[in-house]
Symmetry: C2
Subunit: 158 residues, 2 copies
DNA sequence: CCAATTTATTTCAAGCTTGAAAATTCCAGC
DNA sequence: GCTGGAATTTTCAAGCTTGAAATAAATTGG
C-alpha cells in the first residue's frame, strides 16, 4: 500500500533518517557560515571560491567543461561565474590552440593572490567551526563518511 | 604573516579540513540526488518539500515569519515558495484573527496527502542512499555529529 | 488621540542553479 | 571536399536565495 513500506527494517531506516537530518544540519550550518564570512568579510561568494579553488589547483587553466565536471555543476553555471570573476579581474579566458570551440579559464596573478589569502582564512574557519571535534573524532568521522560514500554517492574531486 | 597561521596545530586543522570535504561531498551528493528524484519522479522541489514538511508538523498552520524561522531561510524566500505551493493547490494562507499584518500558511487536504506520500518516498531514498552504513555506524556517526553541533553551529528544527 | 517605534510581510535586485535549446566548431566517413 | 553527428560553449527561462527597502498594521508613550 505505501510506496516504500520497509516494514521489516523500520528501525534502521529511522536511524538513517535521523542521521541524515544531523548531517544536513551540520553541513548546511557550516556552509551558511562560510557564505556569510566570504560575503561580509571578503566580498565574495562560495561559488566563486569553489571555482577559484579548482583553478588554483590547475595553474595552466581548465577547459570550461572540465571545470564544470570537477565542480559537478552545469556548463551554463560556470559560464556565469567565470564571467563575474573575469569582470573582477580574478580570472580570464584564453583560446585553446587546436580547438576554436574550447576556452581555457585560468586565474590571473591577482586571482592567485586573492585565492591564496581566502584559502588560509577558509582553513581557519573550518578549524574553528569543527573545533569541538578532536583529531581522533575527526578521523573516526572521516572513516565513517568514507564508508557511506563508498558507492552510495558517486565520486568527484579531492 | 598569514591570516590564520595555526602553526602549532597544523595537523589538526588539516584533519578537520579533510573531514569537511568528505562531509560536504556526502551531504551535497545526497541532496543533489534528493532534488533529482523530487523533480524527475514527483514534479516538485526540495524547498517546497521542506516547507510542506514544516507545515505538516503544524496542522493548524504557521505564521510566515515562524515558517522562515523554522527553516532558517529569509522571509522573502518563504513568500515565494508559499506562493507557488498555493498556485498548485497544496497550501493556502489564512488571516490571523487578531492581527491584520500576519498570515498563517497551512497545507490544504491535497497538500497533506501529497506530503504524506513524498515523506514515505523520502525516507526510502535516505535509507537507500545511506544504505552502506549499518545501524551501528549510523548511531556512531550521529553521536559524533551531535558533538560537532554542540555549539559550533546554532540549533534549529528536528 | 497622536507620534514613534516595532513587528509582519511583501517586493525587489542581484546572484546562483539547472536543463534545454541554440550556435559554433570539430571530426569521421564517404 | 562534403555531410552528418559529436563536442564545446553560451544563452535562456524558471526557480531558489539573500538582504535591503517598502508597506502596512500593531503597540507604546506621551
Amino acid at each position: 500500500m505505501t510506496p516504500h513500506p520497509a516494514r521489516d527494517r523500520e528501525p534502521a531506516s529511522k536511524e538513517r533518517l535521523r542521521l541524515w537530518l544531523k548531517l544536513l544540519k551540520l553541513s548546511s550550518g557550516v556552509e551558511t557560515e562560510l557564505r556569510r564570512r566570504l560575503r561580509d568579510d571578503h566580498g565574495t561568494t562560495l561559488p566563486r571560491f569553489d571555482v577559484m579553488a579548482a583553478l588554483s589547483r590547475h595553474p595552466d587553466g581548465l577547459k570550461m567543461s572540465d571545470l564544470s565536471g570537477y565542480l559537478k555543476v552545469s556548463n551554463g553555471n560556470v559560464t556565469g561565474i567565470v564571467d563575474r570573476l573575469t569582470e573582477e579581474g580574478l580570472a580570464l579566458r584564453v583560446a585553446v590552440p587546436g580547438d576554436r570551440r574550447a576556452q581555457i579559464a585560468r586565474l590571473t596573478p591577482k586571482g592567485h593572490r586573492a585565492f591564496a589569502s581566502l584559502a588560509e582564512y577558509h582553513e581557519g574557519w573550518i578549524d574553528d567551526l569543527l573545533g569541538r571535534l578532536t583529531p581522533g573524532d575527526a578521523r573516526s568521522l572521516t572513516r565513517l563518511l568514507d564508508k557511506a560514500l563508498m558507492c552510495g554517492v558517486d565520486d568527484d574531486l579531492t
